[in-house]
């Protein structure tokens, strides 16, 4: 009981304890936690390494921005539609990209997702009239009270917590166990009579849809979306978060997201060489902590 109640109270009480700046960071953590967990449903449970997952985070962000800026709907209506539209649009993109990508496995799967992501990146960069091109889209603040981090935090939490719960139920359902079996031995699962690609595609679409929701919520928090969100360098972010937190636990990637975002804020506030610092952190992580923070903590405790 205490294990559930404590985090819930903590999450609900956070806005009363944090300054607006750190609350803004907390919202970023929530969005990236959903992003990393949704990514890890593929990697940690399904054994599918997507190297183009930023495609869905970016598509979600752009879907929100285009809906608010260009659909011609009243601000409140457009805003209320953002979560649904972001989910639907990124699910549609995930269905299309996933359909082709799950035909391959291993490193070729990673490269296909990567190719599609770069295709979307160049479109975002070149379709200037819709996406703003290189400048991206700015000024996406939500209406009324939600423009304040205090209220937006609860808005984001009210969407992200159920989303995480849905993912949690999914990975612990029969479907989720089939997915885990696929990671361990895809051929054997196929021999049992399971449609491997259909399972992988469903996981890919669900994962992509929630990554898109995360992107939309993050876009509304910062008020911007940029083509860089879709660039290849962005696709390492969820991998780093998942590996950092540990890919074999459900919430590990969320912890990884929190650590990553806070480290970025702390380090990039002090030096312009944040990429260098992150690079060194990743090297240390890869060489010293093969099971991520959660595995590291477990081993220390044991």
């Amino acid at each position: 009981m205490i294990r559930v109640a404590l985090p819930v109270l903590l999450l609900l009480g956070l806005p009363f304890a944090l300054s607006d700046f750190w609350l803004f960071i907390a919202i970023e953590v929530l969005a990236f936690a959903l992003y990393a967990v949704s990514f890890n449903v593929l990697l940690g449970y399904g054994g599918m390494l997507s190297f183009g997952h930023a495609a869905f985070f970016g598509v979600g962000g752009y879907a929100a921005a285009i809906l608010i800026k260009q659909a011609g709907l009243p601000g409140g209506v457009a805003f209320a539609l953002v979560p649904l539209v972001a989910l639907a649009v990124s699910a549609a993109f995930a269905l299309l990209i996933g359909y082709f990508s799950v035909q391959r496995s291993g490193i070729y799967f990673a490269m296909l997702t990567f190719a599609f992501q770069m295709l979307l990146y160049t479109i975002a960069l070149k379709a200037t009239s819709v996406t703003g091109g290189d400048d991206g889209m700015t000024g996406l603040k939500p209406p009324g009270l939600l423009a304040k981090p205090f209220y937006y935090y609860y808005f984001a939490l009210a969407l992200i917590a159920p989303a995480l719960y849905v993912l949690y139920r999914m990975v612990n359902s029969p479907f989720g166990f089939t997915l885990r079996a696929l990671r361990a031995n895809p051929r054997r699962v196929q021999y049992i009579g399971v449609n491997v690609r259909a399972h992988q595609l469903v996981a890919f679409v669900i994962s992509g849809a929630f990554a898109g929701l995360a992107g939309a919520l993050f876009a509304l928090s910062t008020g911007n979306v940029f083509p860089g969100w879709l660039n290849w360098t962005a696709s390492a972010t969820p991998i780093v978060m998942a590996v950092l937190g540990g890919v074999h636990t459900f919430l590990g990637p969320a912890v990884g997201a929190a650590v990553y975002v806070v480290l970025e804020v702390l380090i990039s506030g002090r030096t312009e060489y944040w990429p260098l610092a992150m690079g060194v952190i990743i090297v240390a992580l890869v060489l010293l902590m093969p099971e991520g923070l959660s595995g590291f903590a477990r081993r220390k405790a044991a």
Binding site: I107, L112, K126, Y273, V286
Partner: protein, 304 residues
Amino acid sequence: MIDFVVQQLAWAQNPVVVARQLLAGVSNGMLLFLISAGLSLIFGVLRVINFAHGALFMFGALIAVSLTALAPGTTGGFVAALIGASAGLAVLGAAIETGLLRRIYRAPHEYQLLLTFALVFILGDAAKLIWGREDNSVQVPALLTGSAQAFGLTFPTYRLFLIVVGIAVAIGLWLVLHRTRWGIFVRAATIDRGMLSALGVNTRRLFTAVFALGAALAGLGGALAAPIVAVGPGLHVQVIIDAFVVVVIGGMGSVLGALVASLLVGIVNAFGILAIPGAAVVLTFALMAVVLIVRPHGLFGTPE
């Protein structure tokens, strides 16, 4: 719609324009070949996608900036830059392989991906710390300035030089891979590393040498590209993508595939700029996606 297409393709009736774009595409393709040949070899033998390969290319270009600055515009300075960049990158490559990559060959894909990815950031910032944030340029040596003329076509001498060097490197690589004992080991390693090791070949040393060779080719490519690109931060992020597309199209691990795909991508880009100005790059990614779907191991690759 048809009018628009006809208008967009009007240049195709002008043989001079077509020939000019073809030559430009081939010379760019040769630069792409230098970087993607190494990337492909490294993947073939080490089974690692080296995202840092673009950064190695950038380091080659930056070393060329420093070395040519000692004697700008001279042939000696330029030759020193080519040799210095290749040798310097061979050493850096060997250091990266022995110090870092060697430790994670048995780890899952995502660890290898993350490690070379981390190197992109580390090397990118290291370049900023060493050479600063400005764009640099390198003077074409006096010997290679000017342009050649034939059939009413004017073409920069330096571009022709790039094509000659590209052909020379391609032939050299082919000879090394097909006419030396070491080359046999490299080709065997792309097929079955375990068997090669079981037969008593020192694969650890082979891996280091292959990575160093790939890095040296990237360094040479960077030094050769230095006179025709803006050498500065961010160069590596774009270059690696082009090389990656080439390697995927040509087939990971195949040097011949890298050559053919480099020329293909170079030429597609050169004409794509005329056909759909500003969005030619979409063509190359579309090409890559189609190849991956239809023939996932690439044009000349072997299936896993």
